[in-house]
């Protein structure tokens, strides 16, 4: 039996004149993501995207899983394709819906006839197919008011489609329609979630990771690559820049007052990330900060770090509790990776009592004890680039 996927567009249907653009981006994204699974035809008609497998080896289960992670799709369902003949439609419906019907208690049938040459009218189609299903599955009741499942029969120009189970899509808007941003990622729980949330709003991601060997390990870097791989299921390909950060951290450690270590470190991170962002045509930075979570994430500390940025810094988690963040990280399957215990650049040399209310002028005075410009330039010259995709 031939099966296809129908995807309903999300809020992009609300767009005005740009709508076509959004749809085009989405269709392209779907094509690109499905490429590794097999050959599919992807077409957008009347805010529904039809995904049809073209070869026998194209795995429809895998395709559905892939579609469930693409932003811009509000809901999707799998449909069976039948010849436009009422008897064949009935047979196909009984066979195709058997699995779903074993899990529900009641149903109704709706028909949509866009091909008006089909001999039966919509209510007649619904009655025919409904009657057949009721005979075949006597334990599932007909309920036209609050059914567990609505079986839809669509008579299109090319064929008839039958579907019943609707799955929630990833929501959001298509990646790429919201510009491009660089995310600072350490390997903790928060940053992958922040990346996911920006991707949901259509933002394409570039990642910046700070490594401080020998204080941090190769495993910490591999861990970040694995996290990005999981995020890339939603965001698409991510280019990751690994910044050698040891010298800068050692300098801060040696020359600056202990309480300012973290804040000065973060200012350097922002400067470097912004430089990388500009080189990659990103228009914003993204961090996984949540207000008050740790000492460097107070309003005062954020103000001090943002003082070195000329681009906007997005912090999608700023108002979220740890529990909420963990909830999302479990959903996107990054939690288990995030909690692997390796030292990362943020835990090295952490002061016992960092400043929670830093004064910008003091921070700048402390920072000026280091001749940092050549160190930053040196770090930027020795970036490691890794392209990550699922």
């Amino acid at each position: 039996m031939k099966e296809i996927i129908l995807a309903k567009l999300g809020e992009i249907v609300l767009k005005g004149l740009n709508r076509k653009n959004f749809e085009d981006v989405l269709v392209k994204t779907i094509k690109r993501r499905l490429y590794r699974i097999g050959s599919f035809k992807v077409k957008c008609v009347q805010s529904t995207i039809t995904v049809t497998p073209l070869s026998d080896d194209a795995d429809i289960d895998e395709a559905a899983d892939c579609i469930s992670k693409i932003f811009g799709i509000a809901a999707y369902c799998r449909a069976c394709v039948a010849e436009k003949d009422i008897e064949k439609i009935k047979t196909a419906a009984c066979e195709y819906l058997a699995d779903h019907f074993s899990r529900i208690g009641s149903f109704k049938v709706e028909a949509k006839r866009s091909d008006k040459k089909f001999p039966l009218k919509s209510p007649e189609i619904a009655r025919e197919v409904g009657g057949c299903l009721a005979d075949r599955f006597p334990e599932v009741a007909v309920d036209v008011h609050t059914p567990d499942a609505v079986v839809t029969v669509e008579i299109r120009d090319d064929a008839a489609y039958i579907h019943s189970e609707v799955f929630k899509g990833a929501g959001g808007i298509p990646v790429g329609t919201g510009g491009k941003a660089a995310i600072l990622i350490s390997g903790g729980i928060d940053s992958p979630v922040a990346g996911y949330m920006m991707a949901k709003r259509g933002v394409e991601l570039t990642a910046v990771h700070f490594a401080s060997p020998p204080y941090t390990s190769e495993r910490a870097e591999e861990k970040v690559a694995e996290l990005l791989k999981r995020v890339s299921l939603y965001s698409g390909r991510i280019r990751m820049y690994t910044v050698p950060f040891t010298k800068l951290q050692e300098e801060i450690r040696d020359k600056c007052h202990e309480e300012y270590f973290t804040i000065i470190m973060r200012r350097f991170m922002m400067r470097i990330a912004q430089e990388i962002a500009e080189q990659n045509e990103c228009q914003a930075l993204v961090t996984g900060e949540s207000l008050g979570q740790v000492a460097s994430q107070t309003i005062g500390a954020v103000a001090c770090t943002d003082a070195v940025c000329s681009m906007p810094v997005f912090r999608p988690l700023i108002g979220m509790d740890k529990e909420e963040i963990i909830g999302i990280s479990r959903k996107i399957d990054t939690f288990e990776v995030s909690i692997q215990p390796y030292e990362d650049c943020c835990t090295v040399f952490t002061p016992k009592h960092p400043r929670t209310r830093p004064v910008l002028s003091t921070v700048i005075d402390e920072e000026n004890k280091i001749d940092y410009a050549p160190l930053i330039a040196d770090a930027l010259e020795n970036l490691k680039v890794t392209d990550i995709s699922a």
Binding site: P213, P214, Y215, T216, S217, E218, Q249, E250, R253, D254, E258, P341, Y342, E343, T347, V348, F349, T350, P351, K352
Partner: protein, 378 residues
């Protein structure tokens, strides 16, 4: 760059003879020891030969040797198996604060199931006291599990007197000793020490990973962890992984001469300890009389992982004595009462007879470089 491997308590290089034995079994004597035909009989004989070698190394009979998938399974089988077999006789189990996680976690689970677990503390030398053991064992104690050698610091536990204490208390307790770190590195004679169950592991003695042994004294009853066929008297059902078992037998044959090898390692270890003592900023955590195969020390102020990565970069492989800042601190070092600073900076080196004094010289030189150049934690 010369590779200097000082992490032999984590695992060892498989000896060439053991590896060749495994290949021979996989490609030639590949029969299932349970098969009735001659190919099966041949395999059974190979397995018996391996069992004989292990048995001879600890002075027991082949029928008391049960091959497992490794130390963890053997420890789990011993702890759960003995506790369940004797649960009608009592609920009290005596163990220590410094056991390997495969004993510790098994004990935690038994505790949840209603057993009473007595965990004996360790002193600053990483050793539990015979006096404490004596006080803890009562007549309703059903299991005593104490490791022979601690895996983090190398401290040797007073296991030889335990059986007499159990008998004096008129307790039905079975005595289990996790001897993974001591096997072929010190004299281990379960019959002489009154050990009922003893755990051994292959990959710590130059055999491949994936094979271990539970010694079970004849007459000791345990409930097996798995159910299945009648292999190994049903104590450990499942087709035996013959290539691994025979490779372990071969490694035992090769490394069975405990005394001579230990002398060689002892010389290297003492050389290393003396050098460490003379290194400023180093504090040794292993007691003086520890098993020479393990030295645990702290470079206070530098995190374990930092030293480890620094040395690894120079081709020197050691183990961090404690997990990273985010992970859990070493329960052993904590039980010994060491300060947090010392625990956070603990490093373990562990030797095999492949290590030389020259290796130690290079290691010490690089360690000194690390101490000089690495920024210290505050």
């Amino acid at each position: 760059m010369k590779e200097i491997y000082l992490d032999n308590s984590a695992t060892t290089r498989v000896s060439r003879k053991a590896a060749e034995k495994a290949v021979e079994i996989m490609t030639q004597h590949y029969g299932n020891p349970s098969s009735l035909h001659s190919k099966g009989l041949e395999a059974q004989h190979d397995m018996e030969a391996a069992g004989d070698l292990v048995a001879a190394s600890i002075g027991c009979t082949r029928e008391e040797i049960f091959f497992t998938s490794g130390g963890t399974e053997a420890n789990n089988t011993a702890v759960f198996g003995a506790a369940y077999a004797l649960r009608r006789r009592g609920k009290r189990i005596v163990t220590t604060d410094i056991e390997h996680s495969s004993v510790r976690e098994a004990m935690s689970r038994l505790e949840q199931e209603g057993f009473e677990i007595i965990r004996l503390p360790a002193d600053i030398n990483g050793r539990v006291s015979a006096e404490d053991i004596k006080k803890a064992i009562t007549k309703d104690t059903i299991l005593v599990s104490i490791m022979a050698v601690n895996n983090e610091v190398g401290s040797i536990q007073p296991i030889s007197g335990v059986k007499r204490i159990i008998e004096a208390a008129a307790s039905p307790a079975v005595f289990h000793a996790d001897a993974v770190q001591g096997y072929l590195k010190m004299p281990l004679r379960p019959k002489k020490y009154g050990i009922d169950l003893m755990t051994l592991s292959g990959h710590k003695i130059h055999a491949p990973k994936g094979v271990g042994v539970l010694y079970k004294r004849r007459g000791v009853r345990i409930i097996p962890l798995h159910t299945g066929g009648l292999q190994q008297s049903g104590v450990r059902p499942g087709t035996e992984p013959l290539p691994l078992i025979c490779a372990m037998g071969e490694a035992v044959r090769e490394y069975g001469n405990t005394e001579e090898r230990t002398e060689a390692v002892k010389a290297v270890s003492e050389y290393c300890r003396a050098k460490l003592k003379n290194t400023e900023g180093i504090e040794i955590n292993s007691p003086e009389d520890a098993l020479p195969y393990i030295i645990n020390f702290s470079a206070v102020g530098i995190r374990s992982e930092t030293i480890l990565h620094y040395l690894a970069d120079k081709g020197i492989y050691v183990s961090s004595g404690s997990a990273c800042a985010k992970g859990q601190k070493s329960h052993v070092l904590r039980a010994m009462g060491l300060s947090d600073d010392r625990i956070d900076s603990a490093v373990r080196v562990s030797f095999s007879d492949e290590n030389t004094e020259e290796d130690i010289d290079i290691f010490i030189k690089e360690l000194e470089n690390a101490l000089r150049t690495l920024a210290r934690k505050r």
